[in-house]
């Protein structure tokens, strides 16, 4: 039970940082401690503890770092959403308008839903290998989920991207769920096909070139991604699906040629997208020179850059900046809002948290004794990694902006629930890896995962 004690210790640290941050926000903006401060602290502790107990019961040997790190990021997201809620509240009060309902409360409610699904996944998926049976079911589910927003009645466009479905008061972003389904499909499919896809007929410049007929799956993935880009106007999702597929293709076959071919196809898609779609062109132009578009299309990015710059090395301090000036500060631009108030130091800390999350996920893949589990873990980690890179890179002008949410940070229920489901799957794989019945564990090895070499060829 040593790893669980580590997990509990890390959780207490995360909870304490969250508690201090929460109080700091209210002290800085309202000059008082938060209303219901104690209640919120107790509630947060209970939710964190509930997740911990679920892991203790259902995945007792799982990696002890994944859950606390994800929880820490989630708490920082909640704190920032709450901070922006206060800005909204003060503005409404100043203008004698009705105070909007607090998004942090909605997000916290989604955390409960996420906890429920997290529990259900760990409860029902007792062995991740059983998911391999649903390889093609996952494909169908993934494609249907991707197509749902295009349906006439329930499909909804928000800010130009047709990504949502609306059922009564609830709106849901099915592409988030599709992420999981398609990652399961990619892993299951590539486990079966990897021998064939690794076959090399010719070599050019030392690179093995796959057989022509093996290009089929990659081309299909590419066309689907282009379709997402064309019909849903969603650059981020398209890029992520294709990226994860290429990564898993490379990992399963060990052929670097797939990476290069994938990169080539990506470049081609980028050029095609740039030529064919105005919204892609616009994003590239804004990326190259945001200042020219500072008052129209580039307003969001310019505001994000203003925020980041005003944050400087150590930030303005929570509650002391003006993150509310950044459009979509609670969703796509939340990392810019954090960068403004926590500074470069805070952003680097955040990057380290994400890096640990992804690294732990990759290690789970490395330690996994079955190739399906390995590919699934690597796939899920890559989804996090790409999403973080694309969103933070986008708002900091490293790459053009794409519409994606930052995992665990951004306001939005579907993404949050799905991210926690992905953590549940990683924990499940990790738990299988580290069961003491298979490998004897020493106390030292409990903290750093065992790496078994030779299970997969």
């Amino acid at each position: 039970m040593k790893p669980r004690r580590t997990e509990l210790g890390l959780l207490i640290v995360a909870w304490a940082i969250g508690a201090v941050s929460f109080a700091t926000v209210d002290m800085a903006t309202l000059g008082t401690l938060p209303v219901n401060y104690v209640a919120v602290l107790v509630g947060t502790a209970l939710v964190l503890l509930a997740g911990h107990i679920v892991i203790r019961r259902l995945a007792p040997h799982a990696d002890p770092v994944l859950y606390p790190v994800a929880a820490m990021i989630n708490l920082m997201g909640l704190v920032m959403i709450h901070r922006l809620d206060i800005a909204d509240q003060l503005r409404a009060e100043a203008n004698d308008r009705k105070v909007p309902s607090a998004d942090a409360v909605a997000q916290a409610t989604w955390v409960l839903v996420a906890l429920a699904l997290f529990t259900l996944i760990l409860f029902f998926v007792t062995d991740h290998r059983r998911l391999q049976r649903y390889t093609f079911t996952s494909l169908v589910a993934g494609v249907v989920l991707l197509l749902l927003p295009l349906l006439p009645v329930i499909g909804t466009s928000i800010n130009g991207a047709r990504l949502w479905i609306r059922l009564g008061p609830l709106s849901f972003q099915p592409s988030e769920l599709a992420k999981i389904a398609l990652t399961i499909f990619f892993a299951g499919y590539l486990v079966r096909k990897r021998e064939a896809l690794a076959t090399v007929r010719r070599r050019i410049l030392g690179l093995g070139i796959p057989r022509g007929r093996d290009f089929g799956p990659l081309l299909v993935a590419w066309l689907v991604a282009l379709g997402v880009l064309a019909f849903q106007r969603d650059l981020g999702t398209a890029l992520m699906f294709f990226g994860v597929f290429v990564i898993l293709l490379y990992v399963s076959t060990q052929r670097r040629s797939w990476l290069i071919i994938g990169a080539g196809l990506f470049a081609l898609a980028a050029v095609l997208g740039y030529l064919a779609f105005g919204h892609v062109q616009q994003r590239v132009l804004i990326w190259l020179d945001p200042w020219t578009y500072a008052n129209d299309e580039g307003y969001q990015l310019v505001q994000a850059l203003f925020g980041l710059a005003s944050g400087g090395l150590f930030g303005t301090g929570l509650g002391e900046g003006y993150p509310q000036f950044i459009p979509f500060a609670k969703t796509d631009f939340i990392s810019a809002a954090l960068g403004e108030e926590l500074g470069l130091a805070g952003m680097l800390a955040l990057l380290v948290l994400f890096a640990i999350l992804v690294e732990r996920g990759l290690r789970t893949g490395l330690a996994c004794r079955d190739p399906f589990g390995t590919l699934l873990a690597v796939g899920l980690s890559s989804v996090f990694a790409l999403q973080v890179f694309v969103t933070i890179g986008g708002v900091t002008r490293l790459i053009p902006l794409t519409g994606l949410t930052t995992p665990f940070l951004s306001y939005g229920g579907s993404a949050l629930v799905c991210n926690w489901m992905m953590i549940a799957l990683l924990l499940r794989i990790s738990d299988r890896n580290r069961r003491p019945t298979m490998i004897a564990q020493s106390a030292d090895e409990a903290l750093t995962q065992m790496i078994r070499v030779g299970i997969d060829r």
Binding site: T29, L30, G31, A87, L90, R91, E93, A94, I247, Y250, V251, S252, Q254, W291, A294, N295, V302, L305, F306, G307, L308, A309, S310, G311, G312, L313, G321, Y322, Q324, F325, G339, G343, L344, M347, L348, L351, F354, A355, V358, E359, L362, G365, L366, P371, T374, L375, V378, S382, A385, F389, I392, G393, T396, R397, L398, I451, V453, D456
Partner: protein
């Protein structure tokens, strides 16, 4: 798969490093440049983070910041008596920037001035939010109020200065504006108000006393008289003063306002010509002295120089290369002569100050947040415009203007007031301008004032009827301080 996953880990690591490097650029290396980008309202807001220092008239603030807790902007700039002091304070707006002293003394008010460095360090150590320093103006509240109530709703400006120092005692215009309306944090209201002011044909945002140059009319006869005295004329020198003066090289002639000769046998003395504002005599003087002499005299009073009070006042001008007819016209302040009311106050002040023109200034002292004096403005002579003797002679002639000439409405019992009336034709469809300049008391001058009022009522506007009473009330206000 292990090697591939390890490589993938490296690739993700590189992505993290790229993000970190880029963040370092955006938040640290490029940050100063991004912060200085135009339209960055955070930089504007940073100015509202600390308490901006007040602008004072005496010890009373006419612009000050008040804390607005829980709002985006942490301080609101307010202007008690905003309309009255707007020509001096200007405004401080998050939307439209700053004007007036708010702009010129921004470093002190915001606390950025190096003179406040020690205070900044102290505030930092004490953990207090830094504050700006205070700017104390030279304005005199009573003079300012007297000028404003004298102007009422008429369009015009009043400038009063201390002849001995050049300190500006009153800076008033009508119409003015309320800086509170532009400093408000209600952006929509500020915008509405600004657009309304901007569209107003009477130009309330224009700093009339400092920036608007208008023909000085007969008040310019003081400059011509000074040039004549410098040339050897004396107050009782006899000049031709017919009912109208034929302009040389032209079929036109210049008539007296009264339409009558200025004295018996079409002759008059210099003193009488000034007292009754005789056009023909001064036109004659202009031609007799020549344009260069007039220009030289005008320059010694401050024409064709720029003054930073600290706001930069418009340069008053004497025509560049006038022919004889134009020289005659300019000798009575018409043709292309143009002056601010500040300039005409300076002319009057120089005569009263025994011939020495002083540089005008509006800031008396710069104070630290704890109100210790950081610097005081030292009066600075600009140039000697007249000999002491000639100045005394001209001052005497001006007293005659008030006591027995056209400036009767400026009389104050028991005080020797020297003044000069004027009427300027502005053309361009704008009404004539009634002028009155005055200084008092003649033997120990405390104040020189210039009043310029647009008046559509009478074609032959008398500065005496409209402008002189305003000048008188300003003088009374200063003398009773």
């Amino acid at each position: 798969m292990i090697r591939a996953i390890r490589r993938l880990g490296w690739v993700f690591g590189i992505l993290v490093v790229l993000l970190a490097i880029n963040l370092t650029f955006q938040q640290f290396l490029l940050a100063p440049r991004i912060n200085a980008e135009p339209g960055n309202q955070r930089t504007v807001l940073a100015e509202y983070e600390r308490e901006r220092g007040p602008i004072l008239v005496g010890t009373k603030p006419v612009a000050r910041s008040i804390a607005t807790p829980k709002q985006t902007y942490k301080f609101l700039r307010t202007y008690p008596d905003g309309v009255l002091y707007a020509p001096a304070t200007g405004f401080y707006s998050s939307l439209y920037g700053a004007t007036g002293l708010e702009r010129q003394e921004n470093d002190i008010l915001s606390g950025d001035d190096p003179r406040l460095f020690v205070d900044r360090i102290e505030q930092l150590i004490a953990g207090r939010v830094p504050e700006g320093g205070a700017v104390q103006t030279t304005l005199l509240a009573s003079a300012q109020k007297a000028a404003a109530s004298g102007l009422g709703s008429q369009i015009g400006s009043v400038t009063a200065i201390d002849p001995k120092t050049g300190a500006i005692l009153a800076l008033v215009q009508s119409p003015s504006f309320d800086p509170n309306g532009l400093a408000t944090h209600d952006a929509a209201a500020a915008q509405d108000y600004y657009e309304q002011l901007d569209a107003d044909p009477d130009k309330p945002l224009l700093n009339r006393p400092l920036v608007q140059t208008i023909p000085p009319g007969s008040t310019f006869k003081l400059v011509t008289a000074a040039a004549a005295l410098a040339d050897g004329y004396e107050p009782d020198s006899v000049l031709p003063g017919p009912a109208s003066y034929p302009l040389p090289g032209s079929s036109k002639s210049l008539a007296n306002w009264s339409g009558a000769p200025c004295g018996p046998d079409n002759r008059t003395t210099l003193a009488n010509a000034l007292a009754i504002s005789c056009n023909s005599a001064f036109a004659y003087l202009g031609n007799d002295l020549g344009a260069d002499a007039l220009r030289t005299q005008a320059r010694k009073f401050g024409f064709e120089s720029s003054f930073d009070v600290p706001m930069t006042a418009a340069t008053s001008r004497y025509p560049e290369d006038p022919d004889d007819a134009q020289t005659a016209m300019s000798a009575i302040g018409q043709f292309d002569v143009a002056a601010t009311s500040l300039q005409m106050a300076m002319v009057t002040a120089a005569i009263a100050n025994q011939g020495v023109t002083m540089s005008p200034y509006l800031v008396n002292q710069i104070l630290a947040p704890d109100l210790t004096v950081l610097s005081s403005t030292q009066p600075k002579p600009f140039e000697r415009a007249m000999t002491q003797q000639n100045a005394a002679a001209l001052m005497g002639m001006m007293v005659q203007v008030v006591n027995s000439g056209t400036g009767s409405n400026a009389r104050i019992p028991g005080v020797n007031v020297g003044g000069k009336t004027g009427t300027a034709e502005t053309g361009g469809g704008r009404p004539n301008i009634a002028w009155f300049v005055a200084a008092a008391p003649a033997e120990d001058p405390q104040v020189a004032v210039a009043v310029a009022v647009e008046n559509a009522g009478q074609p032959e506007v008398s500065g005496n009827a409209i402008a002189a009473p305003i000048a008188r009330s300003v003088i009374e206000a200063v003398l009773q301080r």
